[in-house]
Every structure is written in C-alpha cells, then in structure tokens.
Symmetry: C3
Subunit: 336 residues, 3 copies
C-alpha cells in the first residue's frame, strides 16, 4: 500500500509495516483536534456515508465524530430490516446508489465479505467497520496504535513486545487481526492463554510463527507474568455445547485487582476490545481496576477517533493539508 | 449554582432563583438566532452527543436543533435494544467511552437515576433529557420560561402568579418539576385540580407550602377562574385499576372553547407539556382552541429551543461569546 | 407556480411546464457542487427537518446529502412506532412543533394525504418525499430530469419523445406521476405495456390523451422497438389473487441483454425507479446490463441529488445566491 488516496480499507492484510506506521504518524497529528486545542476545517463540505447495516453504537459514533473533527458532514444509516437490501437489492446496486451521496463511506454489515462486495460497486473509498466474523481493521489499528503509544510512554517501540492474549481466542476477530498486524513487527512474543476449545486458529498461529515470533500456547494465566500487554477478551459461554462445559471456564480468565497483582508485573498494560460485561456474574474484567493507571481500555476508544481521523485524511488525501485550515476553539474543553 | 461552565444539568433541585434567571437571560439573547434574524458560529466544530436511549422525537430534535443553531455538529444515538448497555455494559463504561466522542451530551434513558450515574463517568457536561419518571429539568425550565414570557407580555413577572394545574398530578413529572421551580419565586398561588387518586404527591405540596405559597387542592375545575395559567395534563387512564374507575374521570378535565370560556378569565394562558392526544375520544385539550391567542402550547416548544441553546451556551461557557461570531442569514425565513 | 419561495412541494399537479423547466435549470447549476468541483455555503446555518415516518434509505439520504451540499445541517427522524403520532398526536400538532425546529422539511409518511395535512400546520416549506400510494413528486422530477439530460446528450428535448412504460402500471405511483408530468410537453408517444390486470389507471390515460399525446396500450413488449426510453417497473406478484395468476406474468417483462437487443433500438435508454430485485428468480432487470452505457438507473439516483438541491434552493429562495458563496474543495474527488 504505497498511497492511500482513493483506496478502500477492507482488511488488515492490506497493511505492511510502512503503511501501519504512516497511519500512526497521521494519527499522532490528529491529537490537537481531538483534544480540542484547535480545530480544522479541511473537510468542510465533505460528506461521510456512515452505513451501519449492523448496529454498533460506539464504532458508528467514533467514525462520525472523527469525520466531524475534520470539519465534514455525516449522513447515517442504521439497521437493515427496512432497507432495500432486505428486499433483494444487490450490494452492487446499493453501493452504486449510496456512493453517489457521499465522499467516503464507513460501513458495517453482518455478512462476511459484504463490505468488500459493496466496495467493488462504490465510486468512493470504503472503510470496513466490521463485516461479521471476518474483518474489523480499524479495531486492529486502534489496538495496535494504543500498544505503540503505551510503549512510547516508556521509551519503547512495538518491537520486542511481549503480549498475552487471554480468553476466547477462537471466535474473537479482534485478537486474530491484532496478532496478524503485530506479526509485521520484530521479535514479538505471544503468550496465548485460552481453553483448548477456544484456542487461536492455526492460520493465525502460522502467521505468527512464519514471521519468526515466539509463540507460547497455554491454558494457564500463570505464564504471562512478564507480559507488557494483557489483552483480555470475553469467554463467550453461549458458544459451548452445554452450560456444564462452559462452567468449567467460568472465572478462570477473570481479571481483577487481586489477580492482576498476583500474575502480572507492575508495568503490564490491560487492554480489552470493549464492550465488557460489568455485571457481577460476568467474571470478565472487574470494575475494581477502573482507576488503575495501567487500564488502557478507555485510551483504546479515544485512540480509535485518532486512527479513524487518520484513515479519512489518508483516503481523502488531505493528511498534509489538515494543518493549513486551522481555527480556534472557543468553548469549555477542560477534560478533553 | 454559581457557574454553569463544565457542570452537569441533572435536576431542577440544582437551580436557585438566580440560576434560573441566568438561564432565562441567556435564552432571551438566543431569540435572534432561533428566529433566523442572524446566525452564530460560536460552536462551529463542537460536537453534541445526543443520546436518546429512550425515544422522544421532539426532545431529541429540539436539543439537536439548539446545538446546530449555535453552529455545532450533532452525533445521535436512538434506542437501547442494540446497544452495549443491553449486553451488560455499565453506564460508567458507556459514559467513559461516549464522552470521548463529544464536547457535551444530552441524554434520555428510561431508568430513574441513570443519567446521573452516566454523568459520574462522563468527561464532558451532561444535560438530563429525561430519566424515566424521575427528572426532566429542561421541560421544567421551558415551561417556566414560557410562563415568564407570557407574563412579561402583560408587564408582569412570575411573582404573584396564580397557576391552576389540572389532570394527572400524581404521575406527571412535568407538574412536579414545574411546581418545585415555581416555589423559588414569591407569592405564587397554586390551584391543584385532580381526582383524589391522582393528586399531587405530598412531597411537592410540602415544597410549595414550606416556601410560603398559597395552595388550594380540589377536584373541581370551577375554582380556577382567576388563574393566570391553566396547565393541563392528560388523565393517564391506563394507570387505573379498572376501566370503570377510569371512566368516572373521562372528560371531567377536558378543555375546549366552551369550557375555557365558562371557567377561566379572558387572559388565562393555556399550557400543556405535549404531546396531546387529539383523537375525538381523548377528551383532553380540544382542537377548537388551536387558533386561540392564549393557547401557548406551541410557544412552549419554541421556547424549548431557546432554553436548550442557553444551557449549551452556559455549560460550554460561550454565553458571552455568542454575539462575537455572527453571520448573516441568506434564505427564506418569513414565518420563523 | 410563479414563485417557489416559501411554497410546499406536495404534488406533481402543482407544476406547469415553466415550473418544471425552472427546477431543471437550477438543477443544472447544482452539478459543480454535487460533483465536488467546488462547494457552496449558501445554506450554512440552515436546518433541514428530514422526517421519514416511513423508512426509505435512499430517498432520506438523498435529501440529506442535497441539503449538506448547500451547506446546511440535517436533523433526522426515522420510523413512526415510537413517535407521538402513534400515541394520537395530530399531524397538525406534529407540524406546528417540528416546523419550529427547522427551516424546511422533507417528509415521507405511509398515509395518502398525510404530507399535505402536515404542511397545513407547518410554518416552513414542506417537500413531499412520498405519502403512501399517493404522490412522490421528487421521484417524478428526477425521472423527468434524467430523460431531459439523456435527450440533451443526443441534441434532443423532451418534446417528440417516445417512452415505453413496462410492468406494473396500475400500482406504481412512479409511472403515474411521470406520465402526468410528461403530458406537459409536446408530442410525446406513450407505449404502455402491462398485463391487463396491471394496466395504467384510466385517469392517467385521460391526462395523456387530453393533452393530445399518442397512447398505445398493449400487453406485448414487441411494439416498443422505436422507444427512446424504456421505463421498467417490477411486477408486484404479491398483489395478485393467487400465485398461479402471478406466475403467468413471471419473466414476461424481464429485461436482460438479449431481450434488450432484440426488442429495442440501440439508442434506447433503460430506466427503473429502483430498488430492483437482483435475485435470480426476480426476472426483472438483469445484472448483465449493468455496464451498458444506456442503463441510466444510477444516473437517475445521481440526478435525484441535483433535483432536490434545486427544490431546496428554490423553496428557500437562494437559487440566485448559491454561486456567491463558493469555496474550494480540498479532498480526493476523482470519481465524483
């Protein structure tokens, strides 16, 4: 990927290390606008088509906010039940029509491959906001960007990272995509902790191994003590054949203050793709860590805005122009 | 409440008389923008998170319009069924994430206390757009602002007002909040007209009495002839134990041209929180009063935009700056 | 219709030839903005109330995009189930309230006459985006505008056109409205091809005949070989008394590459109101024509944006001012 201008962003597999670093470099430049130190009007008059045929409040609003922060308008669609797609319209037709209404499109859809199929008919760049169990490249980019920033705060880079991925590694597209992107870097150590029935697919393990990284597969959280990142995911109990089978894992990968202190070093950063289930019986990632400085889960969602701003700026070819259309911010911004 | 900058607006109980008068003074300054004499760009680039986890078309659009009139963008969420909240995400997490996407939030939610709980996790000011049966402070403020303006047109103030509140005074949060706010003023006379089963809660009556105001409780509309304001609400028949019990009140608190002329003085202003049921069998507030100059119900909703503009300007600390970023209006605005 | 300023756009019957040509002349001027050669800020600060009480993704987004392209904000409402209308609020009340929140309204509603009833209570211009089986004037205008542009590319005008309308001519409001508008022009030849049970209503046929146009009614596609326009619609099988009755028409009015080549001259332009059912069993308008240069279906939806921009500019009286508030476009626009 040499140039982003006019390109679709459909898969983590499009990115080499240079492309990833380009996105992160532009994302860094977006911080003053996201934190309201100043604002830019570079995309004033541009229109984002924010097409969420599958609902996702946070991803949808994050894309919309990112576009507003660059000065643009957002036209939004949510749900599929009443859409023409439900009445037999092809994704090609939908794309041909809706791409006439905007300058760039962010799209989520429940079906694998649907966003790529849509992109083939679109006359404007399409960014994949999740196509079912398949891909969610902006989540992978924001996770990786978060790792890069957490490491940078310690004077380190993504190279030489040790990451522990914990929980349901089989069905979680988030950890698949993140592992694939991390494999672009040097000397990453992966500790993959999950029940056997929920272990990382061999395809992803092969990607890691073929890139020459160290890979440890285990069912026990104990071996992760030296991890720089603890990437926690939910055990999706509904996917087990019976509740009895699920029950044997209940709480086994729970993370709370006590477990964190016992099993991880004091610098280990805690990540989670969110949303998390905060109900008492969830045994996932407890609220007693909410104020812990190493809990990066809300820095992840904040970083998502920066990464999406960067992708809009790059695909619309304004990354170099953002700083030329700056205006002041007049309102209360104390905690931004 | 000495300063509004960065503050949440959660309850009518936050307001003393001075704070109310501050809101109204800023609302007055908003009229030229709402009536399109000119426009302001003071919040150009700012983002409102308009989170309506419980649907309410008019309140949602009124908040959004108010923010647009100050120049800002609106990112919107409606409904709760597909949201992360429905899957066990805490209001704290939702607030931490979504407050990263906007500069101020307006929120409605079906559960009592939910907006305050959300506000505790939010990094930006939160304005309560209604939390179930609990609070709806912007409705109370727009009702009170309407009373102030109707009185001002007669050279009067809210002090020395006589208000008749009619209908379901037990379950209507609107009349509770309005009565509480009116109690901040001097020498207000309340005539509360309802069936015994739907009478004003003693807590609200105590607030009125403790503030030294005159309070008349009755089941008959006859005693309200001298009222300056007739605040009409719906008898919510579905709350009675049986249709037979409900039927005894059917039409008893109906207001139409004939009843109005018979029971009220010619200056009495008619108010209603809207929406009203206009079907013939509703017996609520008849359409034959639609053209009556004293029918203030649509002035109430217009005033809602002014009050919400004022709250945004105050919480974002731009009330003094609005007039410095004025631009002309080029389009047809004859009836605005 | 001498002036559009402040007027509602409710029906094709409001338009004489001069009014139609005025809309088209303004639509022509909108092309540089829609194709992002430049942008205009003439409606910066104005608010469109986009009220879709009946869902329609493409019509809703097209109106919103048109308004954004003129610089304005969009406040949107979709669905009716949770609205006050569903709880007995009159269209008059809804209109009085919501028209206080915007400068112009685009509205779709499932009931015949509802948009006109709403307009009667509105304080701002209302554009009908479809009221059930009744009217959808902007669809008729964009269809006619497409015909005008396709003809102009051949050095021709709408006068002396030969149009074949095919399929369900009984229930399709699109063809009724288009036929009515075409009747305003000179010497149009209509070939109406449909099963007898789905033939064009006599009222529309009378309009055509009374205007002095040639009218051929047939059940066979064979007679349309000389048509300049082939306007294809769907056979709505669910409206037949039985599947057996429907089956006799299955595929009879299908259009694909082979049938097109056999029955039409090489210049015949193919139109369709969209969405089309692209599933194999639909037998409607096949995908093998997708790349055919005479397939105008996506030019229709693109033209819809121009026509809606023109209607906003005219009803808000800024058609002459659009060009005075021009700004440059900085972003990637290669395929616009």
């Amino acid at each position: 990927m040499n140039s982003f201008a006019g390109q679709h962003i459909l898969s983590v597999n499009q990115f080499d290390r240079e492309a990833v670093e380009k996105v992160f470099s532009v994302a860094d430049q977006m911080l003053p606008y996201a934190s309201r130190k100043k604002r830019t009007t570079v995309l004033e008059g541009a229109i984002l088509g924010n097409l969420f045929f599958e609902p996702s409040t946070r991803t949808r609003v994050s894309f919309g906010t990112a576009f507003n922060l660059l000065g643009g308008h957002v036209r939004e669609t949510t749900g599929i039940s009443n859409s023409a797609l439900a009445k037999g319209e092809s994704l090609y037709d939908t794309a041909r029509v809706l791409s006439g209404y905007s300058d760039v499109i962010a799209m989520r859809h429940p079906d694998t491959g649907s966003v790529a199929e849509f992109a083939a008919g679109s006359r404007v760049p399409v960014i994949n906001g999740g196509d079912g169990a398949n891909e969610h490249p902006t989540q992978a980019l924001l996770d990786l960007y978060t790792i890069a920033k957490e490491r940078a705060s310690l004077g380190l880079t993504i190279d030489d990272l040790h990451i522990a991925m914990i929980g349901d590694l089989r069905f979680g597209r988030t950890v698949h995509s993140l592992a694939t992107m991390l494999s672009l870097f040097n000397n990453v150590k992966f500790t993959l902790i999950s029940p056997k029935d929920l272990s990382m697919p061999s395809k992803v393990c092969d990607t890691i191994s073929n890139a020459g990284h160290e890979l440890i597969i285990t069912e026990k959280i104990e071996g992760s003590v030296e991890a720089d990142i603890c990437y926690q995911t939910r055990i999706q109990e509904e996917r087990f054949a019976s509740q009895e089978l699920a029950n044997q894992f209940r709480g086994k990968f729970r993370l709370n203050q006590q477990i964190y202190t016992k099993h991880f070093k004091s610098q280990t950063v805690i990540m989670h793709p969110l949303p998390r289930d905060s109900r008492a019986e969830a045994n996932e990632l407890d609220n007693d860590l909410n104020m812990h400085p190493n809990l990066a889960i809300f820095r992840q969602t904040d970083n998502g805005v920066l990464v999406r701003m960067a992708l809009f700026a790059l695909t619309l070819d304004v990354a170099e122009k953002v700083q030329h259309y700056i205006k002041p911010v007049y309102w209360y911004t104390k905690n931004k």
